[in-house]
Amino acid sequence: MKKALLNALILAQPFVVSLGFAADDLATLEISLAEPQAREAYLPQEPLRLQLPDQIPAELLLQLSVELNSIDVTALVQYDDGALLFTPVRPLPSGRHELRVVGYGDDGSVHEVGYWLFNVRTPGFFQDSSLTGNVDLSASQRLAESSDYSTDRATSSQGSGSFQGASTTDFAQLSGRMDILYADNSEYSASGKALDLGTFLATAQGETFGANVGHHAVASNDLLFDGYEKRGVSINSQWQPMNTQLTLFGMSAQDRVGANNALGLNDRNNQYQGGVMQTRLWHSASHEGHLTAGFISGRRGDTGYGNWQQQTPVTEGSGWNMALDTHWFSRQLRMRLERAETDTRLLEGDADKDADSAYSALVMATPTLAEGNLSLGAEVKQVGLAYQSLANPFLPADRHSKRLFSQYATGNWIVNASLGSEHNNTDNDPARSLTKLRQARADITYSNFYSNNDAEIERWRALLGSPSVNLAVERNEFRDARTAEGFARQDMLSESVSLSAAFAASRWSWSVGSSYQTFDDFTDLQSDSRIHSVFANANFPLGSRITLQPGWERQRMHNRDYDAVSYNTLLSLTSSVVILPERLKGELSFISSDNRALNDPFYLQDNRNQYLTAELLWHAKKPKPNRFGLDVSLSLSNQDYRDRLFGENNNDNYQVFLTLRTTLPIQFSGVAQ
């Protein structure tokens, strides 16, 4: 950006460029801040103009740095008619602000050339308010279709809305966001209704108290919580003197969409209540300790939208956890301990409560090295057979695991390695098998995104792009240490190695990769097999108006027990063409999927599926903030399926639509511009 500044300066004042000037010039340089338009105070995004002295040498100018509220903004400062001009990238809040100009001499000397305090004024009770959003509505007319796609619905409509607002009052910071999705064909909606309420959240946060309503996470991922956002209501209170925060909540236990049960608290069989307390026990530059404790109680049944589970019995119960997270020795050592217990029962059937516990212990070291960054860690975790948190349904139970992991990063290289072992049957019940897993992983990545002085490397970079190459290996042994009577024995080994390379330049990129996986079941319950995968894809422009994205992947699977080989190939080509800039553009996408498994014992198939989609889009009226825009598009989709084994399955279908779409962007900054 400084080069750009220099160029601008040379163009503007070619006569002032001179090669010789004294570093002392910095000390005598006089720069002034122009007065605000409103006299008494600046507006939140009013440009700040620093008037330079006449005939300032360009080299001297390049040694200046500009800082606003301790942020170095030099990279976005422009030269404008004998002045340095900076327009704040975000509206400045009301109050006093600090502007500084510093010169760095060639000899290492530092000179503060100028320093100003100035005021920004935002009128009104709601300060720094903003409301942004977008409403989008489309109507489609079916122009043509093949018989298989014929339907009574000649027209359809869809739409979406997304809104976000924020405001600051004297008491709290308010904010909210909401997504709305609309499809008149309710089969395609998430909740089965034409209008879906998607993700939403309203937040009020003051110095001491805060409240959240909608999708949010009340705790990070641990043994009790999965860390995912859920619908619910929470309030929090912060006691700064005690460095403590308490959050009380009522949350839905399932993933929900739609306007029904919007708060997630109407379904008695799918909600939990509780609290989380977080406190900082000690804190310095060298060490730090946090204690977190949580409690939940409620019921959970079906896990909801976007989820599938084998069984969905309603479970009720409670659980708690406590975690101590500490950093020591200039934070080079981290130790974390967590303990959790749950006590749950099925609502129907087995009415007995089942209590169990889980724990985890983590030690991680990040020693300071002369070169590079190293981290080493070890973790032990056990989750009991009957442990079942209502707020963490995906945590596998009956599992004891240990792992060692490390990462070393230096220059352009990053190396990761980990070893793990785990077993089930944490109760050591002789009536159940004891199965052990041993896992080893390692990968190494080389990336070189930034130019250096090596001409050879730069030549390759110009030719191929900046590289990122990764090699990864993995091995999993899964076998019974003890097979219980009446159970099938388990003894399996899977291994994999993969190599991928991605290259990126400013306007194009490409990548290739290959992997080889092996699987052996020494009990012969499952087939032994090998999978070899390769892929290649790219993204590059043809001239200034055409972009192409070709992709290809192929998988070969060899079932050794049946000596059967199957192939899956996926070929794709997506292109976009700007026909009239900002007015007319076209998109064309072709995908071909070819599956050939002529002697596969489980999935006999020999078919080819080709898809073609095309769209011609005309921006009839470009949307602007708070003004409607209008797009007209003509789209086609075609699917051609050819079954080379069973010809009666063949089909070739198409549909063509004309769509009108209107868009209304909403933007309100809430401050006088």
Binding site: E145, L181, Q278, H283, P396, S496, N568, Y603, P623, S637
Partner: protein, 436 residues
């Protein structure tokens, strides 16, 4: 074999003469699941588990010359699943195939593929009967012809752990007569996959399950799966784009997944980047092909609306690419992050560790950036750097370093700001140490 064909041909000719005299059309299924037309079963059933087996029915049909439009339709209205002579289940799924009759020959072969799904109840019932094989019978017919029955044998395997297989109970009653020696039970063939999927959850990489986004905004999805045992997973990411969702959604494959699950009980699968260049409704689904039994794919949806030129309205979580958490700050340390589209400037911010509230794990890890309020921290940065939106990385300037003390801990993050001054992306906090 040849004798059989000669016999069939003679029979057809005779019947043709008879039917032509009587003015009718004769058609018949001459062979079905015999030595010449071997019916094939692929896959095994597992006792107590829902199982899917593929069956290919093979046979031949014949007709008099001049049969309707040179084609015959082979039909089967249903079949039965048996153990010995005991019927376990009646199958009512019809099968049908049109067979083209060549002009040069009165007969033609056919094959019909069937995917037979066996419920866990049926396989458990068969297992309780001590069966190692299931008999599957189907009746086939052609219009105006006779009915012919075909039969295949499906191997039934014991369930692997954890379902206990009951030990055969010795019969206490004395055997009055020596029983005929049973035929040796064939060794069961290996099954396709023993992986037992228990739970799946599909969501976008931002943690949401519905999204409304701007054209060109990057998006991907994640599938979290909990399973037992180990084995092969075959699945496919599929997407229906706005060019079809205004009518009949056409799902196109995005990526095939063939992966061995190594027994770790849980896995996180990442989708390929999802397109967002066209406005409208997108349906994303994850289809499990193997192990069998999960018929309904998981589907989530997103909508692209508005114009690419306008400000994105949601604050996206940005990924930091370096330096690592708690790394040491050196003279060459470069701060890097995942770039976002439509960004005017990035603001790299550094906070002192002792700033109130920053040390709280709740603040540093639970920032989900659903609102501006959550992006706002209770303290101001001690230093920072403004970077043009075309860059996705920067080293600290001398001016920024002047604010940092030696041997101290700082937190850093990146904000993405669009041309209208709105925050459109933010990263979480990472720690970085300065040298002593």
């Amino acid at each position: 074999m040849n004798t059989q064909r000669i016999f069939n041909t003679i029979r057809v000719i005779i019947m043709a003469i008879v039917t032509s005299i009587s003015g009718g059309v004769y058609a018949n299924i001459d062979a079905l699941c015999d030595a010449g037309f071997n019916c094939q079963v692929m896959g095994n059933a597992v006792a107590g588990q829902a199982s899917t087996v593929q069956i290919i029915w093979r046979g031949s049909v014949s007709s008099t010359i001049g049969s309707s439009a040179g084609a015959l339709t082979v039909n089967s209205n249903g079949g039965m699943l048996l153990v010995g002579n005991q019927t376990l289940q009646t199958i009512n799924t019809p099968l049908s195939q049109v067979v083209s009759m060549p002009s040069s020959s009165p007969s033609a072969s056919f094959q019909i593929q069937e995917s037979l799904q066996l419920s866990a109840n049926v396989t458990q019932q068969a297992g309780n009967l001590g069966a190692t094989q299931l008999i599957y019978r189907r009746q086939f017919s052609v219009p105006g012809g006779s009915v012919r029955q075909g039969q295949v044998t499906i191997n039934l395997m014991s369930a692997p752990a954890p379902t206990p297989v009951p030990e055969p109970t010795p019969d206490p009653t004395p055997q009055p007569d020596p029983q005929p020696v049973p035929e040796p039970v064939p060794t069961p063939l290996p099954i396709d996959s023993a992986v037992d999927i228990q739970q799946m959850s599909l969501r976008f990489d931002t943690g949401e399950q519905t999204r409304v986004l701007q054209p060109g905004e990057p998006l991907a999805a994640q599938l979290r799966m909990r399973y037992q045992r180990a084995g092969l997973l075959r699945a496919q990411w599929e997407l229906a784009t706005p060019s079809s969702t205004a009518g009949e959604p056409v799902f196109t494959p995005l990526r095939q997944v063939q992966q061995y699950l190594g027994g770790g009980q849980e896995i996180l699968l990442q989708s390929p980047p999802l397109p967002s260049n066209s406005s409208g409704l997108y349906l994303l689904r994850f289809v499990v092909l193997q192990p069998a039994g999960i018929e309904q794919p998981l589907t989530i949806r997103y909508m692209v609306g508005g114009s690419a030129d306008q400000a994105p309205i949601a604050v996206r979580v940005m990924r930091q690419q370096g330096p690592a958490d708690n790394a040491s700050l050196g003279s060459a340390t470069r701060f890097e992050w995942q770039p976002l589209s439509g960004v005017h400037a990035y603001q790299l911010e550094l906070y002192d560790h002792s700033a109130a509230g920053l040390g709280s794990p709740a603040l540093s890890t639970a920032l989900t950036f659903n609102s501006v309020a959550e992006v706002s921290l209770p303290v101001s940065p001690i230093a920072g750097l403004l970077v043009p939106g075309e860059q996705s990385g920067a080293s600290l300037s001398d001016m920024t370093r002047d604010h940092l003390a030696n041997d101290n801990l700082y937190y850093w993050r990146v904000l993405a700001i669009n041309a209208e001054g709105f925050i459109v992306g933010a990263s979480t906090l990472r720690a970085i140490r300065t040298a002593p």
